[in-house]
Subunit: 304 residues, 2 copies
C-alpha cells in the first residue's frame, strides 16, 4: 500500500497514544495533560505534557499536523531556479516530537522526532531522529541504545545505521562547547524513494523507529530509576541541562523554525527542562565520573 | 583632545576597576575573581566574576581588547561594493560588558556594555547600552532608572534619550514571547562624528554612560536588597531568568558574535544566571504582581 497523508496522520496519533500510555506506566505516578490547539494559517496539534511525575520531571509527547503555503526556506535553490516548485505550493506536515527530562540524574534525557512532509506538487518525504543524553554516560546503556537502533536500521537497509548514526553525531553537536549533546543515536531526513528503497519501504523503516521509542526508553528507566544519587550529582544534572538549553536555543532546527514562524511557543519550548544551571568556569575533578562523561561527548564513538 | 585607542583602552580598564569596587562594597560579602585570557588571533581580556555574594548571586564585569583581521560581517554592503574597506583591513575592538544576576527577586537584573571599534583605514565608532530587567516592575525604580539615563543623554544631545530609549525597546525584545526583556534603557551604535556631535563630544557622552552604571545600580540595590520575598516570588524570578536565557541565546548580537567567532565561551556565557526555570504553560494569576509586571513588558512606555 502507498500510505496517504490521512493514513500517516492517524498512525502518528495512535503512536502518540501508545507512547503516552507506556510512559505513564513507567512513571507510575503522574498523567499527561492534553491541550488541543489550532494554527491560524491551517491545522493544529495535540500537546501532551507531564510534570512532576515519579520518574519524569518534565516531558512532552507532541503531535501536530499543519498545512498552508510552503515556507520559502523549504524550497531548495534548484527547485527555485527550475521553477519546479512555485510560490503557490501548499504543504502538509505532520509529526510526533518527544523530549523527556527525568527527575534523576541517573536516568538519561531522551528525544525523538518523526515527521512526514508533502507538497501540493506531489513531492513528499520522511524524516526523523532519536538521541539519548545521559547525565552520566553508562557504556552498557549506550551500547544497548545503539544496538536497538542498529537492529531497526539493519532490517531495512545495510547502510542506514552507520549513515544515520554519523548524521546524528553531526546534528546533535554543541559547536561552541565542542561537545556532542549526548551519545547521539540516529538522524535522517528527506527519505522518499531514494537510498535504494522505495517510499513504502522507507515508510516501514520510519514506522519502526517510532515504535522503538517506548520499549527502549522504558527499559532504560526501569534499569536506572532506583539508583541513588548525591546532591553533587543532581547539580551536575542541572549543568548538563544547561547544555541542553544551549543546544535547543542556539542550534536546533525545529526550535528555530518554530520561533521564526510564530509557532505555538509553549509546545516548541516544552523541550526545555524545569530547571537548569550555569556555573562560571566549572571544571570537573580529574578521574571523576563527570570527567569521564565529558570525555565521551565526542563524535565518532562506536558504542556497539 | 582626540582620544587614541590606547587612551580608550586604559580608560575602560579603570572603569572596570571602579565598577568592581563599587559592586563589592554594595554586595558586602563576596569579591570578584579575576581571569586574564588571551585570544589566539590577537588581544585578550580581563574577566571578573562574582558568585554567591550577599546581594549578587552571579555577576560579571568583563573587559576585553581584541584585534585582528576585520570579520566580514562588520563590513557593510556598501563598503564591500565600493571597495572602501578591503579584506585586508585590521580591526581593534575594546569594551566593558556587565551582567548582574542578584540573589533576590526584589533586586533587578542589570546589563551594561560600552564598546569602541576601529579599523586600519581610520573608521571608528562608539557603541553601548544599558538596560534593566526587574523581576517585578516597580514604577518608582523604573522612573528613577530612566530619569538618570535621560539626565546623562540631555547633557550631550537633546534627542539622544528618546532616540536611544526607542532603540533599546526594539533591541531588548523577545520576539517569540512578544515581551520586552525588561523596562529597557538606552542602546546606541556607530557613533562617531554623526548626530551633530563630533567624535570627542560623542566620546564624552559615552564615558558618562559608563560612569552612570555604578551609582544607579548600587542605589537600586540599597533600596531593594532588604525587601522580604516568598518562595513563590523566588520561583517567578527563575522563570524570568528563563526569559533572560532565551533572549541571550536566541537574539543577543554580542552572544551570537562570540559563539560564531570562537570567543572565550565562559566569558560570553557569563551572562547566563546560576539557575533558571521553565514551566509548561505557566500563567499568572489575575491582578497579581506577576500579571502586572507582564503587562509592563511592552515597547514604548514612557517611564518618566
Amino acid at each position: 500500500m502507498n500510505p496517504s497523508k490521512e493514513y500517516i496522520t492517524e498512525w502518528l496519533k495512535a503512536l502518540q497514544d501508545e507512547i503516552c500510555k507506556a510512559l505513564q506506566t513507567a512513571d507510575g505516578n503522574a498523567q499527561f495533560k492534553e491541550e488541543n490547539w489550532t494554527r491560524e494559517e491551517g491545522g493544529g496539534g495535540r500537546s501532551r505534557v507531564m510534570e512532576n511525575g515519579g520518574v519524569i520531571e518534565k516531558g512532552g509527547v507532541m503531535f501536530s499536523a499543519v498545512h498552508g503555503n510552503t515556507p520559502d526556506f523549504l524550497i531548495t535553490e534548484k527547485e527555485h531556479t527550475t521553477g519546479a516548485i512555485s510560490e503557490k505550493s501548499q504543504f502538509y506536515a505532520t509529526g510526533v516530537s518527544i523530549v523527556i527530562h527525568p527527575q534523576s540524574p541517573m536516568v538519561p534525557i531522551i528525544h525523538m522526532n518523526i515527521r512526514y512532509f508533502e507538497m501540493s506538487n506531489g513531492t513528499r518525504w520522511l524524516g526523523g531522529g532519536i538521541d539519548l543524553t545521559p547525565h552520566y554516560v553508562v557504556e552498557e546503556d549506550a551500547k544497548f541504545f545503539h544496538q536497538q537502533l542498529k537492529i531497526v536500521c539493519d532490517k531495512h537497509h545495510a547502510n542506514y545505521y552507520q549513515k544515520f548514526k554519523t548524521w546524528a553525531d553531526d546534528y546533535f553537536f554543541i559547536k561552541h562547547r565542542n561537545e556532542t549533546r549526548g551519545i547521539g543515536g540516529i538522524f535522517f531526513d528527506r527519505l522518499n524513494d531514494n537510498e535504494e528503497l522505495n517510499f513504502e519501504q522507507n515508510f516501514a523503516f520510519w514506522q519502526e523507529v517510532g515504535k522503538t521509542f517506548a520499549p527502549v526508553y522504558t527499559a532504560l528507566i526501569a534499569k536506572n530509576k532506583n539508583n541513588v544519587y548525591t546532591p553533587e550529582q543532581k547539580q551536575w544534572q542541572l549543568l548538563r541541562r544547561g547544555r541542553y538549553v544551549e543546544f535547543n536555543l542556539v542550534y536546533d532546527k525545529g526550535t528555530k523554525f518554530g520561533l521564526e514562524t510564530n509557532g505555538r511557543i509553549e509546545s516548541i519550548l516544552m523541550s526545555l527542562p524545569a530547571n537548569a544551571s550555569w556555573l562560571y568556569n566549572f571544571e570537573t575533578t580529574e578521574n571523576s565520573a563527570e570527567a569521564d562523561t565529558l570525555s565521551k561527548l565526542k563524535k565518532g564513538i562506536n558504542w556497539i
